[in-house]
Amino acid sequence: MMLGAFQYERPASLDEALRQAAAVPGARWLAGGMSLLPLMKMELADPPALVDLAGVADLVGVQEDGGALRVGAMTRHAELAEHPLVARHAPLLAAAASQVGDPQVRHRGTIGGSLAHADPAADLPAAVLALDATIEVASPRGRREIPAKDFFLGPLMTALEPDDVIVAVVVPQRGAHRQAYHKRPHPASGYAVVGIAASVLREADRVASAAIAVTGVASHAFRARRAEELLTGQVMTDALLAEVASVVASGQEVWGDLYASADYRRHLAGLTTRQVLERLWDDR
């Protein structure tokens, strides 16, 4: 497999990047290349130009910013998985990043690329959803912020315009929350058959608040709102967990494939949610 010819740009700044992309209709951003290059090799994408974001300083780095964590779009999964600030303020993001693909993929792939690509079975979309993150975007028209909950629209479909570039992901710090990401990988692809990201605030024996995001199950990652409502303010019991498990995918058009049918996926989503919540609840 090989690629056809294309123009290649490697800008040093965001402005330059936006200019270069605007100059060639159909140009695509290149981040880690872990999703885009396979598409091109399989002749499913044929962009006339790639604008490589690797040299754009504005897109790198993880910083504390007020009450939030600001993660540059070009942050690689491996860095996310190991960064002390991420571990402290958003451990579920680190956990999700650590379960992406294999070491090679984690050292190339980026959070910006993963969110922009919006694979329905990718890990990071569930993480940013559960964390109520905000996606910072720039375009020739200026900057704007998109809440994670409004970002994912369908398989490989997001709220981004073609000339939008993700600059950073801003994650509210939730040190007091218990967080976890649990993934059941597909044996061939390694992507999530079911991935559950959960962030729970416990007060005594009650759930003060809960955020649960699900990936791998439907056309895009989603928040399990019904399950969250059931949990909020309640005393944690087995009966509650069973009820929560039964509604994790409710309202979703659950999909199936050769490896896991829709029924089985729904079952796994409930089971996994339950297991994640049990584990979080019993922690310490």
Partner: protein, 809 residues
Amino acid sequence: MSTDGGAAHAAPLMGQSVPRREDARLLTGHGHYTADVNRPGQLYAVMLRSPHAHARLRAVRTDAARQVPGVAAIYTGAQLAGRIAPIPTAWIPPGSELALTDHPALADTTVRYVGDGVAMVVAESLAAARQARALIDVDYEPLGAVTSVAEAMDPDAPRVHEGVAGNVALHWRAGSDPAAVERALQDAEVRVRETIRQQRLIPNPMEPRAAVAEFDAADEALTLWVTSQNPHIHRLLVAGVLGLAEHRVRIIAQDVGGGFGSKIACYPDEVLVAFAARDLGRPVKWVEDRREHFTATTHGRDHVDEVVLAGRRDGTLTALAVRTQANLGAYLSTAAPGVPTILFGLIANGPYDIPVAATEVYGVYTHTTPVDAYRGAGRPEATFLIERLVDRFAHEIGMDPVEVRRKNLVRADRFPYTNAFGITYDSGRYEEALDRALEHLDVGAFRREQADAARQGRLVGLGVSTYVEMCGLGPSEVAGAVGFQGGLWEHALVRVLPTGKVMVMTGISPHGQGEETTFAQVVADRLGCAMQDIEVLHGDTQLVSMGWGTYGSRSTAVGGGALSVALDRVVDKARKIAAHVLEADVADVALEAGRFAVRGVPDRAVSFADVAQKAHLAWSLPEGVEPGLEAEASYNPSNFTYPFGTHLAVVEVDPDTGETTLQRYLAVDDCGPRINPMIVDGQVRGGIVQGIGQALWEGAAYDAQGQLLTGSLMDYALPKARWLPPIETDFTETPAPHNPLGVKGVGETGTIAATPTIVNAVMDALGSLGIHHLDMPLTPERVWRAIQDARAAAPLGAAGAGEGGGMRS
């Protein structure tokens, strides 16, 4: 780099785990694979493959594609008709009513599977070739497709080939008289019956296929570098298909990155590339890509089997009947007809003494990728059936599966043992291997743990498989009798140079099995020279006189046999020269540790290297002895070899997800003496992992239209190291009495034994729920569903508790 022995040595190297000498080159990127071959002025070929499983080609328009700069030629089936002979089938089992059909190198009027070749583009660059391919405009008229044997055999089903009724490619029977089988089954106290599907597998060696062809017009000579397990067979077939003289065709397959059977066949691709090189007068290179491999390279297995096993309540097996429908795909690949017949049907009784047994096989054409040999080829399928049925039988009569096996294993004093299909097992101590395995795993203790686990709602299981396989293919007379269109003997040439260095030319074609090392060990011991003074050469028909290649675990058994005989001849001649030098009687001179010495007078000696020099100088040779020191041998084995063993596995099934976790895997194998225990161990482990792959993860699937749903490594799950338990291996050693080295072959045993071992273990874990058979692969969902169904069917509270599995001991 060389860790493999310095000067002439006294201690035998056979039996030592000498590190593989090929690894330094292979692991540092210095291998010479076909894709590494680049010839001056070479062109690049790509294939346009059918996206339809079955369609008529109304038109293949190449005008626009030809306009792409750099395109040298575009070939279509219509253009090639009559210029390239059909791709041959080289195994025609007698009595199989084989419905041979034409397999054109490129489809001329009809495409018959997704991946069938429609056109070949040859261009100055790969990019140009691909660009042009995208511009070929094919007008397909899609037709109805059949992908399963059940559909294909329906009288109203679409036909893969005109004139082949019911799509039946072959119908073959073996074993006891059908009436006798019927009677034995009727009369039996106990019968168990099962329909078993053995799913289609996709080989996926690390290296995909490739071919580079160069044609010398002046000499009418073709050189073809090709990923081949059997260069001489390729020479024969490629010459035949292209109408070239065999002596003007040179096949080179130097390093080959695995094959698992998928590089035995002669494919359209290498023939097309060779044709284009001749037609265009320039070298042409083609390299398969991974996605192409999924549809364009032969697949393996794909059976539906109806099996009945009968016996007495005391555990004695009395009769076996196997009725198989084997999916052969759209065309009969090179060895395909022999795989579900000869290599499967003659050993259906496994290691058990079953007096009455028969197999009946329908081989069926479907609109799918052709199916051919895949590691084990027929024998894994046979072993899976008998091993599953023995477990079912044990459950039925309430006896421990281990005991049923013990009771029926062919006893050590019965060898040579002729089974109900008329083949003769050479030697075996089956019970010893079983006992050895049980020394490592205390079944009684396991049963107690299993019962404890069951009380906690956990499902753990133990799987057993005792197996025998027929390998070391094989006696050429038998090859002829079973319709294999070739010999199965092997050739070796041992050439000792004036300095005493040794070159070995072998007709086998190792592609990962390590015979460069093992063969050198054999030579080093026999001649007493150092490993580094020995070169083992293979994979080039210009270099090696003749050979039939590497498959069927034959390389060390048959190729090693030839080597051994050739070495005897070299030593004989050298001994004569040594006796002459030492002025002693030939009978009094013996070779030991690299020196010929007069018996009883150890200091009257001459080194092997000195003898080699004298042989070449020829200044003074004994009467009638020719100058030089080399010998060749063609070894035609008198029988197959029959390795055997016992494998055990412990698994746990998560009832909530259906997921199987492997806890232990234990293999006791007997392949005769092990020349290099490390290499043998590696073969066993690799085979086991592949066998587990079939049990738990791998499986090709087609949709109703014949589209391959598992067409990439994103969908088709190959085993991953982190899913595997540590594999424990042990060995017993029963020599093959008829083999010069006593060796039996070990390339396929793991694959053959592991699949039923794992499935038996999972079924043991699920036995308490009343689940006794599930189709492979045992994916979590399939197992989970079975558990759900069993629980729904069982009276409340009954399922899950009670005795763990059907086994008690």
